[in-house]
Symmetry: C7
Subunit: 68 residues, 7 copies
């Protein structure tokens, strides 16, 4: 198994993405590529103590720390 296969197994599931700047975003994984660019649906994250909800978010891969 390769690491990207693990992302493939998480498709259409609820994931938690931790960014390098400490932000955490929860949502349903809808797409990923070899750069670890991600698309999440129904994303939720705290932004300066304010809870935000987004129908869809595109995350640039080079800011990803981990996905679980």
């Amino acid at each position: 198994m390769k690491p990207l296969d693990a992302l493939g197994e998480l498709m259409d599931q609820q994931v938690l993405v931790r960014l390098k700047n400490g932000m955490e975003i929860r949502g349903t994984l809808k797409a990923f590529d070899i750069h670890i660019n991600l698309v999440l649906d129904n994303a939720e994250f705290k932004d300066n103590e304010v809870e935000k909800k987004l129908k869809k978010i595109f995350l640039r891969g080079d800011m990803i720390l981990f996905v679980c």
Copy 2:
């Protein structure tokens, strides 16, 4: 679906771009490429507390944090 397809679906729509330095830019997505270089029309952003408006802006992809 691949992540860039999600950007494709946002073409000609109003998007919010968050940069790695915290800046947020709103505008109409007119172009993107694999580096996530973006072009927005009618862009608006706050710059040192001053609201700025631009007919067109080219954003270098490596500064993008997310697009929604």
Copy 3:
């Protein structure tokens, strides 16, 4: 022997991963690639003094400092 062979020898074993931001994550190595993207099962790490456990975690390779 090449460095990635050493990671291959650690497959399915308990490893400690130190990230560039100082975080340490322990778990069973389940996958790696040439970018040093890693997948750990039964991962454990301290997050702001709180011990966290995860069934599976995908770590982006460019944040890895060392694996042992």
Copy 4:
């Protein structure tokens, strides 16, 4: 349209370039490439509160934040 086409439309026009370190440089766009290396003629920028003027400047692309 691709993002670099938007730069092409700005050729020989007055542009504002914001760098990642906050510097802003105004000038006439004379050249660009896929790395977003830029050449501006009659460039003007503030440098430690001193206004500077340059007949020609070559800007390395990886320091560009946006062009408008």
Copy 5:
């Protein structure tokens, strides 16, 4: 001679690796590649004033400052 040949001459010898974050790791060089990913056996380093010993360590190349 190319720089990687110098690493080749250090194979199976005791080396000191200085990382970009200032850490120093001593051990026997067992593997390297073009990214300067390294594997050391019987590695020793100080970690927050605590001396640590590891039978084997994989170091990601982009954190290496020098090897001697």
Copy 6:
């Protein structure tokens, strides 16, 4: 015209190179490549308030901010 052509026009001429760390180096441009690695002859720069002169200096391209 491409940006590197502008560097070509500066060959054998006196240039000012600003680095990303703020250093400025003056000298005669003797060579450049696609990474913007540069060679300057008769280079002069201030180093901790001390003026230094060098017959020849090789500058790694990824530290260049601009050349004029």
Copy 7:
């Protein structure tokens, strides 16, 4: 002439290498490659105010600021 040719002319000569973190290392240039990885013989540098001497040092290219 290309910039790497200037490094070639410095082979087997005494050089001063300035790193991006401010460190300076003097020694005889014995090898270089396109990444500006360098090997110096009889290297000397100050490390926390202590003068160090090394028979041979491998420097990773991405930390080089300049060579003269």
